[in-house]
Symmetry: C2
Subunit: 422 residues, 2 copies
Amino acid sequence: MPKKNAFYAQSGGVTAVINASACGVIETAKASKAIGTVYAGKNGILGALNEELIDTSKETAATIRQLRHTPSGAFGSCRYKLKSIDDSRAEYQRLIEVFKAHNIGHFFYNGGGDSQDTTHKLAEFSAEVGYPLNCIGIPKTIDNDLPLTDNCPGFGSVAKYVAISTKEAALDIASMCESSTKVFILEVMGRNAGWIAAAGGLAIQEDGDAPHMIIFPEIPFEREKFLRRVNQNVKKHGYCVIVASEGAQDAAGQYLSGSTGTDAFGHIQLGGVAPTLAEMIKRKFGYKYHWAMADYLQRSARHIASKTDVEQAYALGEAAVQFALAGKTAVMPTIVRGKGKQYRWEIGEAPLAKVANVEKMLPRHFISRDGWGITEAARSYLTPLIAGEDYPPYKNGLPVYARLKKVLAEKKLPKRRKRRKR
Amino acid sequence: MPKKNAFYAQSGGVTAVINASACGVIETAKASKAIGTVYAGKNGILGALNEELIDTSKETAATIRQLRHTPSGAFGSCRYKLKSIDDSRAEYQRLIEVFKAHNIGHFFYNGGGDSQDTTHKLAEFSAEVGYPLNCIGIPKTIDNDLPLTDNCPGFGSVAKYVAISTKEAALDIASMCESSTKVFILEVMGRNAGWIAAAGGLAIQEDGDAPHMIIFPEIPFEREKFLRRVNQNVKKHGYCVIVASEGAQDAAGQYLSGSTGTDAFGHIQLGGVAPTLAEMIKRKFGYKYHWAMADYLQRSARHIASKTDVEQAYALGEAAVQFALAGKTAVMPTIVRGKGKQYRWEIGEAPLAKVANVEKMLPRHFISRDGWGITEAARSYLTPLIAGEDYPPYKNGLPVYARLKKVLAEKKLPKRRKRRKR
């Protein structure tokens, strides 16, 4: 019997290190000699549904190695969630058909909570229909909200980017505040979880350092309290640096972004939390402000990725293959933090049944009592995650990132009937 | 006769490498043994007017060395322009009094066009009143708009940041565009000059690479033409990445930022060029978009500074001291690009009379004929300026930047009478 092939797919919002996990999967599979070809889904799970399988064996070993330092999803990712088996039976069936046609016995799904859920369902479905498939989830999310793992690959690098950017921009404001900008706001991602915003707090290394305020989604925003605090900071430090989560909201759950009303045409006003807060401050105090919206820059900033993050991302890809070869299914490798003062981590294992659809929120004791900063507990948790640099190689002043050939495996099945566009 | 002391000040918007020039001045002055103490103006020229002189000899040599890799203005900068000698006679007089009181015979002013103008006027004034003062300008501006120098320190590092960020974010969009974001816009600085926006074009290394469009202030913005082109790019590549200059404007000189009208309260709508363009595209085609506003992050990003830029910034500070010691005044050291294919540069000299109040704009032949990209000429000019990396040291995942003691020299004069607040 020929060796089984593997299928790997990237899912959801990409990160600076998801390709490092891909690299870990592909290199480990190859080195094992127990897996045939690793096929990667073109644009994630859609690649499996459409039988668009990128044959990673057509890439050179050097290109695969480059994935370790290449940001974003090199094979393409997607936002496409398979529903329950009952609701999407045809899709699960199609996946199995494609896998059968290509002798695929290992399924690796690299994503966040939804993807772990899909992996879990596929494990159940394959068992139900009697198709042997090792279904392994590989964690990935900048939002750091997966349970049962100490942290999620992707988060450490965003955290590092946000901490460094906050520190650098704060030096800028500090040097100009006497006669110019007094308030600076950096808006960061993280949806309804304040993990990324909290990372901004790492820029504080000595008393008085910026950021002076963090706006967490977990702490209901109160306009007057906020404005008072901003003013106190400007009076005390000469300037005020704020890291604001995109998910900032008031007690009623109303998001700050877009909450300033609609424009003359009835359209929701442009901009996010940062410009909204800036304008609030300007109207009240007249302070000159600047704000930045890092957006995709923060999650694609491989040039300043955390070494810890890169190593963990790779190791999780590696572990996923080892789990599959050990015949495991419906599991996800995790990061387990060692006890003791010195940061140590090792790979653990979590059943997907317990991972799916559980969000790990920023604990309240990571936020300072007054709600504007992080605690020592948060600092102890976050600091090792941004440790170390892992610079990509450069040519002519720019990082050299992998360029894949993306050769597709020959199709063996008729086209699938697509479900209606949602 | 005791050795003359020197005064150094930072001016205007800060950069990732202005402190490297400061480091060049202070280290060279010390090594020369021909200059006494280097005093740095606290908050730029205001420090001289207020007799707030930071005694750089109170800092350790190691701290001064750290300035080489520390972004922003470590001594404080300011936006404060001295007017003509006739209009601001009292201020020029005050400067001379402060310099006399502290035995200052060398004046180094590190800034853009306005600062070079001030340095020039001070040289004239000191000659007029018979106070011997070597007035040397040191170029600095991210906008790259000073004449007579091939390029300005500060620009190369912003250019590198913008090129890398564009490249990284573009990989993000590319991997998601099949099922998610189709348009990404990065808004960059540069005022009315397209130098920084042009640097985004360096991210293109192969045909089809992003950015697919650059919005230059020099090319009048035409809405319909723009929208048509965006749509062509989405159809062709699956996505469209745009680098937009904050100074983008239409043929009538109307800025795009803030041009979408006022909100319900009559306030100018928040946001800049990027959200304005994004919303324009959304309304016309319905494409999902993301945009980023790098703002201060781009000019403070010392973590990814250009090595060429750092070296030139240092060398210009060094040259400034050498010029002063040679008895020169009313001059500015410049960067002179060598002929030939291999990039070479050396220090040149420009008379401030010819530098002041001249803006060097992005030449039309650096912009492609269709107005959406850069030419090979631009690429040849820009590429060497972003070459090389010059990483700061790190501790606990964060760059270690200089922290100055900023000990002020004892005051010898009565407080100045401030001019009325403008």
